[in-house]
């Protein structure tokens, strides 16, 4: 005889959770980038003269030639939709009534991933020019969500 039968009285599973928390610092470049976003409503990039590349968001070294970059510049708030997707589910897996449009917005030689707003979902297209809409200054916290969304550029 061997022990093969489960005890029907026994708990089937042991439930638990792991207390895993993390703190992610913006870093030297991130600090500068998000401070400018929070305090001035600006998007900053860095320019590598050697490689003729404008990094957005700004970086402190060139990924191509490894040179230190300290040429910070205001790159404006306008970009172009490089690619986009419509999300029908929230992070927790629940269904959304209105899909969320998320796009990679090409700016300079880099860009930002953000959501689109003030736009008819049918009208979104690759190559569409969009501009950042910032939250009011009092509500900005130094995060990427200080930009509320990107909306189509109106002439």
């Amino acid at each position: 005889m061997s022990l093969l039968e489960r005890n029907p009285q026994a708990p089937n599973a042991w439930l638990g959770d792991l207390p895993v928390t993390s703190r992610y610092t913006a870093g030297i470049a991130g600090e500068k980038f998000f401070r400018a976003m929070k305090d001035e409503g600006k998007i900053l990039g860095t320019f590598c003269e050697n490689c003729d590349i404008t990094y957005i968001p700004g970086r402190i070294f060139c990924e191509r030639c490894m040179a230190e970059l300290d040429h910070w510049q205001d790159v404006g708030t306008i970009g172009e939709i490089y690619t986009f997707t419509l999300l029908f589910e929230n992070l927790d897996g629940t269904q959304r009534e209105e899909p969320l449009a998320v796009a990679f917005i090409r700016m300079g030689d880099g860009g930002l991933i953000h959501q689109l707003g003030e736009v008819d979902l049918e009208d979104i297209s690759i190559g569409m020019p969009v501009e950042a809409v910032f939250k009011p200054k009092s509500k900005r916290q130094g995060s990427i969500l200080d930009i509320q969304y990107f909306r189509p550029l109106t002439e």
């Binding site: 703190r23 913006a26 600090e31």
Partner: protein
């Protein structure tokens, strides 16, 4: 090696920098819920704890009694033969005075984790638990201890259904 360096690269940060909002940071909490299948043997062990007794496993070939029970014998790799109900008394095999909690906070009164050889199991077989109702100075290897159980209605089928083990003298109930 390290004393060659006078200055280290990088940006040192203190807890104050976070608290005073000098730097930007993002706090995140991972959702790390899990469900661990108790299996046949440990399931029975936990069910027994809820009932208020300790359960071991017996291998006829090796004549070994182990606690907690397993389905396979560790020595001969044959299936274990039966469950055995064990006493809730035992002998301290090893112990420690622990002045930090699991999340590394200092405490004045030490926790007393110990490995307790359970009576009825083979020699040197036991479980890890805490000692209680004892002066840390008096704890010693070979000390006889008995389990102090939670009241039956509060037991949930967990090792914490035993609150701790406390010393007793032979002959006392």
């Amino acid at each position: 090696m390290t004393n060659k360096f006078k200055e280290f690269p990088g940006t040192p940060l203190s807890e104050g920098d976070f608290k005073e909002g000098k730097i930007l940071f993002y706090h995140d909490q991972m959702k790390a819920d899990f469900a661990w299948d108790t299996g046949v043997a440990i399931g029975s062990y936990l069910a027994a704890l809820k009932e208020g007794y300790l359960l071991g496993g017996y291998c006829q070939t090796c004549r070994k009694t182990v606690i907690p029970p397993r389905t396979v014998c560790e020595w001969c790799f044959r299936p274990m033969d039966s469950y055995v109900r064990l006493e809730d008394t035992g002998t301290v095999n090893t112990f420690s005075l622990c002045y930090v909690t699991w999340d590394v906070k200092r405490i004045k009164e030490p926790e007393l984790p110990a490995v307790i050889e359970i009576d009825g199991a083979s020699p040197l077989h036991g479980i890890m638990h805490k000692l209680g109702e004892v002066d840390p100075e008096d704890v010693h290897i070979g000390m006889r201890v008995r389990a102090v159980w939670k009241p039956p209605d509060e037991r949930e089928g967990a090792i914490t259904d035993i609150l701790y083990f406390k010393p007793f003298k032979e002959g006392e109930s």
